[in-house]
């Protein structure tokens, strides 16, 4: 899951980034309205966290603009203004949620999960593929009755695969949703992480859940 944080106050952006990264989201931070708008339009983010007071383009304008251009990514507004009409304006401009500063970090994370869950069409939030179960709230992964420990990156990759179970995911798609802008495209890091995951999930089991689609990418499925 890849999240764009548009926030001009460096320290606020920094702790939001660290909190989200600890939850194994890939995070891009941008301090300028214009740049945020460009990124939101060119990269398929899973969630955008948007501050309203921004240099360049104000947050609300940015939001209206990307909605007009067809970006359907869930948007959570962050602002120091708590007046009702401000919240109404934000939600009417196309925001999906609204959080007033100062906020509790757990609330930000819970709301992010809720938005991602709604966008993914999984009502309970618990992802299941065959006997593999992933709970995004507790971040527990089990296969059968065996618990599996994963690093944040492995977890992020697995979550993305499971959310899109049955769909063939190309390497660029995986890059875009699991890694942030610092990702170096010319490495085989995706294949490396896939092999890590296979070792922890599929190794020694009858059914392999992660399958390679030759020439395209990977797919996660429980059937066949």
């Amino acid at each position: 899951m890849r999240i764009l944080v548009v926030e001009d106050e460096p320290k606020v952006a920094s702790f939001i980034r660290r909190a989200l990264e600890e939850e194994s989201y890939a995070v891009d931070v941008c301090a300028d309205g214009q740049q945020g708008q460009d990124w939101a339009q060119s990269i398929d983010y899973d969630l955008i966290v948007l501050d309203l007071m921004l240099p360049g383009i104000p947050g609300l304008e940015l939001l209206k603009h990307i909605r007009k251009s067809g970006v359907k990514t869930p948007v959570m507004i962050l602002t120091a203004r708590s007046e009702v009409d401000q919240r109404v304006k934000g939600l009417d401009a196309g925001a999906d949620d609204y959080l007033t500063k100062p906020f509790a970090i757990e609330e930000l994370l819970a709301r992010a999960r809720a938005l991602l869950r709604r966008a993914g069409g999984v009502p309970t939030g618990v992802l299941e593929v065959g006997d593999l179960v992933l709970n995004p709230v507790t971040r527990e992964v089990t296969r059968g009755d065996q618990r599996i420990e994963l690093t944040t990156k492995e977890y992020a990759l697995l979550e993305y695969l499971m959310r899109n179970a049955g769909r063939v995911l190309t390497r660029p798609m995986i890059t875009e949703h699991v890694w942030d802008l610092d990702f170096d495209t010319f490495t085989n890091v995706i294949d490396v992480y896939i092999s890590y995951l296979r070792n922890k999930i599929d190794k020694g089991r009858e059914q392999s859940l992660i399958q390679t689609v030759r020439g395209s990418g990977y797919v996660m499925r429980a059937d066949v």
Binding site: V12, A19, A31, M53, P55, A80, P102, I105
Partner: protein, 470 residues
């Protein structure tokens, strides 16, 4: 309702004044007319008497003159409204005109005594039937001897009747006039007070918190119109200052929310799981920075609000600006060390101004601190002091990020920070230049900035020189 009572009071005052005027007026009219009528009656009696005396004289006062002759010669004497009597020297009736008929009208003692002295007498008498008469008795003398007394009389009945009618008319007409004018006064007072009512309603709505309300008064130059426009001006000023206060507190809470968000967020994040000691140290350092920022905002806010209330004490004394500039330059050199920003002195002329040393030092330090904060690394900040006419010109110039023309207009506004300034130095509070502006204002000076984005800014402060001691 005080408005209704003003209406009642106005009407009552008006009515009372009118009633008094009417009573005085009616009394005067009655008096003048009754007096006039009596004089008229008396004059006609005198005329009749003189005619009669002249006639008698032509007949040589013949005591035996019979009345028929008299009335034949002078038909006017037979007029119904007058009667004649001629008394003998002893007061007995000798002749009397026919229209007296059988009525006995004896000569009164007063008239007789006066006649003996040769004086004419007017009398008003009323007999049993109530018919009032006016009588004139005139002595007729011949060689100092009273020959006879001529009396002419007339009924006062028509006169009294007329006066009665006049009185009746006045008694009936005056209350009617008073009632009509009271009604008119009530109506007019209501009309005149209507705009007051409108103003009251508008004031009520404004008191309920809607400061956008204004009084609509069609008239503009009368007393009420002036009241309305003064009232509207006052509300407009109130609205502006309320809006400023709202903006100010919104800005203040926004400025405080940012450091709060950071401290809360950093702390919560640190507490989510066990961390390295170094991580905790970083969080604490960051929190300390934010706490400093908050206390700086609170201090500066407090200063500005006390300044607004006029509670900042200023001790004015002659200040040597050039030595102040040199002191500040030394401090600025230390401030700029981290980023290799050198503060240099340009022309510094010896100048003395009247001012508060503490505030002037604060002004200079704020400007220099500002210049260093927004300077490019390895650049210079220049301080200069010159005398221009009767003013001290203090200049602080930097080679920094600069400010666009549009932003320059708002640079002295409270909490205003340009986007580039926010991005450049997160430590600013947005209040420093507002405080500088205030300090310059209390010293009767001006402060201006010239700037070009990317190249740097120059702040120019002009302060009046110390008035020369005579």
């Amino acid at each position: 309702m005080s408005q209704a009572s003003i209406r009642v009071r106005l009407t009552l005052w008006y009515g009372t004044a009118l009633a008094l005027i009417l009573i005085l007026f009616a009394g005067t009219i009655y008096f003048v007319i009754s007096r006039g009528l009596r004089d008229q009656v008396d004059a006609s009696l005198e005329e009749a008497a003189s005619v009669a005396i002249r006639t008698l004289g032509e007949h040589r006062f013949g005591p035996f003159l019979i009345f028929e002759d008299l009335s034949q010669n002078f038909p006017e004497l037979a007029l119904l409204d007058k009667f004649f009597q001629i008394f003998g020297p002893a007061g007995q009736v000798t002749i009397q005109s026919a229209n007296i008929k059988s009525r006995e009208i004896p000569l009164s003692q007063t008239a007789f005594q006066a006649s003996l002295k040769g004086q004419a007498t007017f009398e008003s008498v009323r007999f049993d039937e109530g018919v009032p008469f006016r009588l004139l008795s005139v002595p007729i003398r011949h060689t100092e001897r009273l020959v006879s007394i001529l009396r002419v009389g007339t009924s006062l009945y028509p006169t009294e009747k007329m006066l009665q009618r006049l009185l009746l008319a006045l008694v009936i007409a005056s209350p009617i006039a008073i009632i009509v004018s009271l009604l008119g006064g009530w109506f007019l007072a209501g009309r005149a007070l209507m705009p007051v009512n409108v103003i009251t309603c508008a004031a009520q709505r404004i008191a309920d918190g809607d400061l956008t309300q204004r009084i609509t008064s069609p008239r503009s130059s009368d007393e009420i119109g002036r009241l309305a426009s003064v009232f509207n001006d006052m509300i407009a000023r109130l609205e502006i200052s309320f809006r400023q206060i709202r903006q100010f507190s919104a800005d203040a809470s926004h400025e405080l929310r940012t450091p709060l968000t950071i401290t809360k967020g950093e702390t919560e994040l640190a507490l989510r799981r066990p961390r390295e000691a170094d991580d905790y140290r970083q969080v604490l350092e960051s929190n300390l920075e934010e706490i400093d920022r908050m206390s700086r905002i609170v201090d500066e806010l407090l200063f500005l609000s006390r300044a607004d209330l006029g509670e900042i004490k200023m001790t004015m004394s002659p200040i040597s600006l050039d030595s102040l500039v040199r002191e500040v330059q030394l401090q600025a050199t230390i401030l700029g060390q981290d980023r290799q920003i050198e503060t240099i002195l340009g022309t510094v002329e010896p100048i003395v101004v009247d001012g508060d040393e503490l505030r002037l030092r604060e002004l200079l330090l704020n400007l220099v601190d500002n210049a260093i904060k927004y300077s490019h690394p390895n650049s210079q900040v220049e301080l200069s002091l010159r005398q221009i006419d009767a003013q001290a010109e203090l200049k602080v110039c930097d080679h920094g990020i600069g400010v666009s023309d549009l932003e320059q207009q708002r640079i002295f506004d409270r909490f205003y920070r340009t986007d580039t300034a926010r991005a450049h130095a997160s430590k600013g509070t947005g209040l420093g230049l507002a405080i500088c502006q205030w300090i310059v204002d209390v010293h009767q000076g001006t402060i201006q900035m010239q700037s070009s984005p990317g190249a740097g800014s120059c702040f120019t402060v002009l302060l009046p020189l110390r008035a020369p001691v005579v």
